[in-house]
Symmetry: C2
């Protein structure tokens, strides 16, 4: 009976294990996870904090009974220490006891995910400092909120988690200041859309400070009082650091498993690492960006699920492929839905394209249909080929759908001029007769010609 | 100074006239319309009836001042009688006076739209019989509702207008029975989605009777009392006939402008009719279906706008093309958003494809994120090529976006297996980690392999 060993029991790992068992039940599948919890939807953590999702337990993806029914053995608090690929073994530490043992495999899937990275700042630790990366972070923050009822929070980092936490802490009645070292909001968001996000945050009472250099953590006892910055001292009852993640692959140091400079595992379209019998999937991996053709680090739950499934299929002997991503993402900042796909103009330029861009604002519904509001659409195309390279959308509704439409077009290599005449769905409650996407594409086409 | 004559001043006509004037202001543009109203959004009529849009006047697309500013002359109540293409003239009747005159042109755009078709049934006329096709219909129905406060309505026809009118008459407190000759709802909707629409209508108190043969109009004085059908006599204070439309092209009888059997004008990609200096656009035209390659009659406001713009560009000497449509549509039946694009399995089969289909139900949001509900997705692909041919979506939210995503993929000729791994936007408020579209595509791929 062949044995599949899975390191990391979140989205990618459980998808792969489930797929292998479904395709070929002869496989013995053992999932080891360093954490104390079985698979859950980490993307929901901010919404539990905000009280939208009632309980952290709601985030669990699979019941223990369902895991057992699939014939998957899950062992928690098991940390991978090193890979001995020649002997097809992983050295594993049982965290409660500290004991080490060797786990043999016929196929190994590395799906150890990512870990939160704190800024490199002395004194940045304390009972009121939080990340929002795993269920343990959620538990600790929920207890802190209930016990100490903080009135003020500093959210450090204006990426997706930072913006979502700003909203959800505000929903708990906490007065939030959002700070970020760079001027960026939601990573590659272009200026007009960034302005809308900042405006929305500020209109809901979140103070937004961008381009802030943090100089020192101000401390007292076991707590952080605040941060001294180049914009003055910022005090808060609670510090939430949402300053990025890194692939959790340190245990591969010295192994032949290929990784990029950040530590993200490099895999081919079948999720194979090139090391015999070793696959990898999920947030510990780089993924191929379909527009640049290069590996990119874009850790996301959807991608992890897809990679896990494809890795599982290949481990079970099927030939399936995961071609890559176009960098699609969406989130909500209070009443504003914002998302993007493909390349921003800056990313396009650095990938060797000649970017042409267009931005428009148009209604989310027919003018005479009440509700909705202005949708801002920014599109990027390549001047030489006319190909649509990316798009960003911000508006009160329909953003995911518009971003997905762009994602399909960008993935298919559609030209801007073909996109501009696309047969999109129209009805007064859902769009104007010229959808904002088509208005933007029309302007883009005239820019491409001009 | 060259003269552009436009027959029909709705979406296509006004788009074309505006485009010509924008590209080349030397053109004198005269728009003649048989109706009493300048351009308006006819798709909004049901929502004015329902009271969502406050006033019929809200539907007007352009102010007279804006029309004048664009340098377009609009003359109302002018009916085209015949085309004398050899002399480049149109015989026009001034409806108020009955006087006829000849209007010369250097370029002619036919954009006369469509007209409502009533079932061929004796006695089907009366003060309580309505269509919902133009602003006049809306005015007459609004007055009738205000004056007589009808308690019951028969909506005849279960296409888009019929379903929208059922909802909006119900919103006015009218008890609605929806009947249709065939068993179909929303034209090509497949069974599981049709069932959801019927269920939604019935749950909101609309009685739905499909496959009903109407035998006779029951009359008294100037009113219709009801309809005698093979399912019994159906009485109502108000009869709304939403039984289809036909191209308004009778005046072309005997002219060389090519039309299909239904009277829809056949145009090429530049909206030219093949008759010298004669273009056509909008609901009076057939359009090329991009999947079948054949002309289809799919009159829609979005298409009319696009064709009008392309026709205008070509009239002004630019070479632009309107490639065609994939049959995308969306509407709302009370709380259910339903839409479709591409070919249904039956349409695919009759177009020579070998259709494979899959249908799934999945959540519209992450399972732990409250709200939303079940989304039903039905997809069709071609067994030989694996190409995605069409999709239908019904759910409480996000339907337009999902249909548009499918429309982009179908238009691009994407294969089902590529669609199944598409990088769609994910965040808990907007989708589960596997979007319903991806779940459906995954099942479709396994069917294609099986």
């Amino acid at each position: 009976m062949p044995r599949m060993l899975v390191l990391g029991g979140m989205a990618a790992g459980m998808s792969a294990a489930s797929k292998v068992r479904r395709l070929d039940p002869r496989w013995e599948t053992t999932v080891l996870d360093a954490g104390p919890d079985r698979s859950y939807g980490a993307c929901g953590l901010p919404y539990v904090v905000g009280g939208i999702t009632p309980d952290l337990g709601d985030l669990f993806a699979l019941d223990p009974e369902e895991i057992a029914r699939r014939g998957i053995e899950v062992r928690l608090r098991q940390r991978a220490v090193s890979l001995e690929e020649g002997r097809k073994r992983v050295v594993v530490e049982d965290l409660p006891s500290g004991r080490r043992s060797e786990e043999p495999y016929d196929a190994l899937l590395i799906s150890t995910g990512s870990r939160a990275v704190l800024p490199d700042l002395r004194g940045l630790e304390g009972e009121n400092l939080f990340c929002m990366h795993d269920l343990g972070d959620g538990r600790r923050l929920q207890a802190f909120l209930a016990d100490t009822r903080p009135r003020t929070a500093l959210v450090w980092g204006s990426g997706y988690i930072g913006v979502e936490m700003a909203e959800n802490l505000a929903a708990r009645g906490v007065s939030v200041t959002l700070i970020n070292r760079s001027e960026r909001v939601l990573k590659t968001l272009v200026e007009p859309l960034k302005a809308r996000v900042v405006e929305e945050l500020e209109s809901r009472g979140v103070r937004v400070l961008l381009g802030v250099q943090v100089l020192e953590a101000l401390r007292t006892g076991g707590r952080i009082l605040g941060l001294r910055t180049d914009r003055g001292e910022l005090y808060a009852d609670l510090i939430l650091a949402a300053t990025g993640v890194r692939p959790a692959t340190d245990f591969l140091e010295g192994s032949p498993v290929p990784r990029d400079g950040r530590g993200a595992i490099l895999v081919d379209e079948t999720c194979a690492t090139g090391v015999h019998a070793v696959w990898a999937a999920g947030d510990c991996c780089a993924v191929r960006h379909l527009l640049t053709g290069r590996p990119a680090y874009l850790p996301l739950g959807t991608t992890a699920n897809k990679m896990g499934r494809v890795a599982g299929a290949n481990i079970a002997g099927r030939r399936e492929r995961f071609p890559g991503v176009v960098g699609t993402a969406v989130t909500r900042a209070f009443g504003l839905e914002v998302g993007l796909t493909g390349l921003s103009p800056a990313e396009a330029a650095s990938a060797g394209f000649d970017p042409v861009e267009a931005v428009v604002e148009a209604g989310s519904r027919a003018g005479y249909y009440p509700g909705g509001g202005a949708v801002t659409v920014h599109l990027t195309a390549d001047r030489r080929t006319g190909r649509l390279l990316g798009g960003q959308v911000a508006g009160p509704e329909g953003t995911k759908g518009r971003v997905d439409t762009l994602a399909a077009a960008v993935t298919a290599g559609m030209k801007a001029e073909d996109f501009a005449l696309l047969d999109l769905a129209y009805a007064p409650p859902f769009a104007p007769v010229w959808d904002p996407l088509l208005v933007a594409a029309g302007l883009l086409v005239s820019r491409l010609k001009g």
